[in-house]
Structure formats: structure tokens, C-alpha cells
Amino acid sequence: MTDTLKTLGYPSLDELKSTPGYPGEDIQKKGPVAIIECIEEIPCNPCETSCPAGAIKVGDPITNLPRLIANKCRGCGRCVAACPGLAIYIKDYTYSAEKALITFPYEYFPLPQKGDRVIAVNRRGKPVCEGEIMEVKLLGSYNKTPLVSMAYPREFFEEVVSIKRLEGEG
């Protein structure tokens, strides 16, 4: 068992897998699904209240860990933008024969553009592989948290969580 959240700053897979927000491998590989990396009991529940499908349960007290009810999740991404901790993303293993798709919150300028080739990183911010930006979305309801979708090789499915920040000004 390796616990890294409180020493290195990021949650290890072991830590994640012991929480009710992190879906099991079978579910993750079935199709688009929300993956919640929120493993401490903090007073917070916008993930629950933002989900139109009732797929996330926090309940009372609001310090309960968010629980994902995977079969209700439609992969719509609302919880991704609503989570103040930027702790949720959506992954789709079935995106194409070789590629998976991740949709993650990205609050930095400059934003990547559709078609950009970027460097995909892991939870420590270390480069893992190349990815291609498929969409950048910013709705009013996201309250200034843009969502970025990136296709990347399936073999790095679980490892990749974001991209290396781009150089330059907004």
C-alpha cells in the first residue's frame, strides 16, 4: 500500500481504488464514465447537486466521500466543471480502436486548440505520451472552468490525467 496524497501531493492508485468515487476497471473500460479523485472527507457536494442523472451521491453530512453510481452516469461532464476541487474527469476507453478520450478541467491560459498535439501527463505532472486535442468547451454554467477533451493511446488509459501546461500568454 503506497499512500502518496499527504506526502507527495497526488493520490496513488491504491488510495483511489479504496474510495467510492473511483470506478473499478471493468466499469472504466465499458464506456464514458466520470472518475472522481476526491479521497478526503471535505465539506463539499457540488458534484452531487450538479449531476442531472443522480449518478453521484454525497448525502448528509456533506463530508461524506462522493460515491459514483456508475450505471446512471451518462458522461455528460457537468460534474467535471462543477467540482471546485477540479477532482473529476471523464474517460472513455471505447473512444476508438487504439485511443481513449479524457475530458478534464483546465484553468490555464493559453488554452489548447482543437487539433493541437500536446503532451499528456500523469498525476505527478510527468510526461507520459502524446495526445491530440479533440474539443475545448466553455459554457456559461462552467463558471470559467474550461473543459478539454484529448485523445491518447489506450495503453496509458489509467495513468494520464491532464496535459503539460502550454507556453505563452493568454
Binding site: 499527504k6 456533506i62 471546485p84
Partner: protein, 364 residues
């Protein structure tokens, strides 16, 4: 000389909410703040707040600030800006200096002190070089003044302020070279550290800053590992190429005015140091003087706002603007909301410290 029913000292989230509740109840309220704009620390908090809908979760700090200002304008609350309260006595006489020149006495029937907190300093060789600054100062620079204090930053302290400001420095275009914390565990919420971590920022626990280096301003820093007894381990020194060092080692309640007025204090390290004793209605040991927000124990903006509301409701009630039944109901509702923020492994400590404060008044 000016008379008012309720004088609120400090126009941060706590003070504004206190003023809004007091005014809504019908009392005449005067808010006094030393800055040129009200809002306290709220406008530099550009992240989305936690909590539930009733705590405005998902709304960013500065957006909450704008809402409070709008509400204050609608209620036509009188706000004195550029006005520093320099003295307060137990008879609730305030000595105010306006625009650094004009000295005015304000006589209030109730006073709510909501002066907030100051950032703690730590001392190491070079701590006073230009380029070493409070994390909150860096936050003010980037988010309010829109200027980067430097390009390469070392953050000392991994509590929520340290990690939030690290993230905001990245958002403003700086590089955060490292976050160090003397404790063996990181202090801030894991979701905050995780987002800073995946931006490639390394965290060092059991590490502290040994010295800042530079002739006219910071040109580098040396960090060192600490052993189990918090002593530096020789040979573990690491040189970091940085031009800015941010200190995020906690906050201390800004409580001079409460001392002057004769309020009794208790030393509670979990709440930031000496804290004025108060009851469930936020009233101190001096009748008619209330506290709210960071001065009554360091927490966060969401709790500051609800404490402010409690103080506002109860100050107005004690003047006869709210009947006892309604006052109790409103207070209990706010307490429930507060307590929902004060649970879980992070909130529990604050709650038990706050409860300890209440026991001194025989009220737990």
C-alpha cells in the same frame, strides 16, 4: 462626533454579512474599513468555494464579494472607506481616522469587530530580502493588481492558503519551483495539492527553508530536510533557483481592538493564537461587543460569512429589532450551516476548538 446603532469594524466577508443582517433587521449600521474598496480578502480569492448550495459552493470568492457589495448598496448601508479604527473602549466609543487626516469619534450601541487576520512571518537568514513576501501578498499582487511578483517561486507552507496561492501563481503565469512544509504531512486539501502536483510542482514534506540568498533581492533559496525532531539534516541541503519566496505559515487574528476594549482572551493554537472569548451569539465578554470571522479564530471565508450573520442578527436583536423567538431560530439555522462546514477530518479540529471557546462561557 457621530452616533450609530451598530458599528462594524472591517468590511471583509464577516463584516459585510454582519452589516447586511443588522440592516435587514432594521438597525442603523455603519461599516468602517481602512481600504479604498470593501470586501477584505474576498476579491483575491478567485477559486471556487467548497460547501453546499447554501454556502454558495462552486461560486468564486470574488463573485461572492460582488454579490455582497451589491446587497450592501441595495440596503444603502453606510460604508466609510479609507477609515481606520484606531481605538475602541468598553463603552463602545470608537476613535476613527478618516483619509489619514480627519479624526472622528463614533459612539455605537453595539460593535462588531471583524478585522480579519495577519499573515505569520518566519525567520531565516535573508527573510527580509525583497522578494520574500507573504503568500497573501503574492495573491494580492497577481489577482488584484495583476502583476507577477516574480517568475520562479518557492512556496513555504502547504496549508490551504499555500496550495491555493501556488495554483493561482501558476494561473498567472509564474513557475512554482517547489512547495515545502516542515511537517511530515501536507496540510491543505488533497484536491488542491493534487491539481498543483499534476501541473508538475514538487512537494517536499519534512523540509524547510534554510536561507534566502541574494545581494539586493532574492536570487535563490536553500531548503533542507528535517529529521524526526525537526532538526536540519546536514548534507540534505538543496539549492533552488528562485526569485520569489512566499511564506504561507498561517494567520494570526488581528485582535488589538478587542484587547483595548477589555475583552477576555484564550490562547488556542488551532485557531491561530489568542482569540477573544465569545458565546454562541458571537458576543465577547464585554457586553455589546461582538466578533466574527478570522478574528474569532482563523477559518475561511464561508465560515466568516455565517459568523458575521450570527453577529449581525444578535446585535440587532439585542437592540430590539428581532424578537427572541426569531433570533433563536435564525441563530440555530446559521449554526447548523456552520457546523456542516466544520465536520470531517479538517473541520473537526476547528469545531472542537470553537466548542472549547464556548466552554469558557459555560455554554458548550
Amino acid at each position: 462626533m457621530i452616533k450609530t446603532e451598530i458599528a462594524v469594524i472591517g468590511g471583509g466577508p464577516a463584516g459585510l454579512c454582519a452589516a447586511i443582517e443588522g440592516t435587514k433587521a432594521g438597525a442603523k449600521v455603519l461599516v468602517i474599513d481602512e481600504n479604498s474598496k470593501p470586501g477584505g480578502q474576498l476579491f483575491k480569492q478567485i477559486h471556487k468555494f467548497f460547501g453546499s448550495r447554501e454556502h454558495q459552493a462552486g461560486v468564486r470568492g470574488f463573485q461572492i464579494g460582488e454579490k455582497l457589495l451589491e446587497q450592501s448598496r441595495e440596503l444603502e448601508i453606510e460604508v466609510w472607506l479609507n477609515s481606520e479604527v484606531c481605538g475602541l473602549d468598553s463603552d463602545k466609543n470608537l476613535w476613527v481616522v478618516r483619509d489619514k487626516k480627519e479624526s472622528i469619534k463614533v459612539i455605537a450601541e453595539r460593535v462588531i469587530i471583524a478585522t480579519g487576520a495577519v499573515e505569520n512571518s518566519i525567520y531565516f537568514p535573508g527573510w527580509d530580502l525583497p522578494g520574500v513576501m507573504g503568500a497573501g501578498a503574492a495573491q494580492t499582487m497577481i489577482n488584484i493588481n495583476r502583476v507577477l511578483p516574480g517568475k520562479k517561486v518557492l512556496m513555504v507552507g502547504s496549508g490551504n492558503v499555500g496550495v491555493i496561492v501556488s495554483y493561482q501563481l501558476l494561473q498567472a503565469g509564474a513557475e512554482v519551483v517547489a512547495v515545502v512544509d516542515a511537517a511530515p504531512k501536507l496540510g491543505g486539501y488533497g484536491v488542491h495539492t493534487a491539481k498543483v502536483c499534476r501541473a508538475g510542482v514538487p512537494f517536499y514534506t519534512s523540509h524547510t527553508i534554510l536561507k534566502a540568498w541574494g545581494s539586493e533581492c532574492v536570487e535563490g533559496a536553500v531548503i533542507v530536510r528535517l529529521d524526526n525532531s525537526w532538526n536540519p539534516v546536514t548534507g540534505s541541503e538543496k539549492f533552488l533557483d528562485v526569485d520569489t519566496i512566499c511564506i504561507a505559515t498561517g494567520l494570526t487574528p488581528l485582535s488589538e481592538l478587542a484587547w483595548m476594549a477589555g475583552c477576555k482572551f484564550e490562547f488556542i493554537p488551532e485557531l491561530g493564537g489568542h482569540v477573544p472569548l465569545h458565546d454562541r451569539f458571537m458576543e465577547t465578554t464585554v457586553s455589546g461587543i461582538y466578533v466574527a470571522g478570522d478574528i474569532s479564530g482563523i477559518e475561511e471565508a464561508s465560515t466568516a460569512m455565517d459568523e458575521g450573520r450570527i453577529a449581525g442578527v444578535n446585535a440587532a436583536a439585542s437592540l430590539g429589532y428581532i424578537d427572541d423567538d426569531k433570533r433563536k431560530k435564525m441563530t440555530e439555522k446559521l449554526w447548523k450551516r456552520l457546523n456542516s462546514l466544520r465536520c470531517g477530518p479538517f473541520g473537526e479540529k476547528r469545531k472542537s476548538s470553537k466548542d472549547r471557546l464556548l466552554t469558557f462561557r459555560g455554554e458548550a
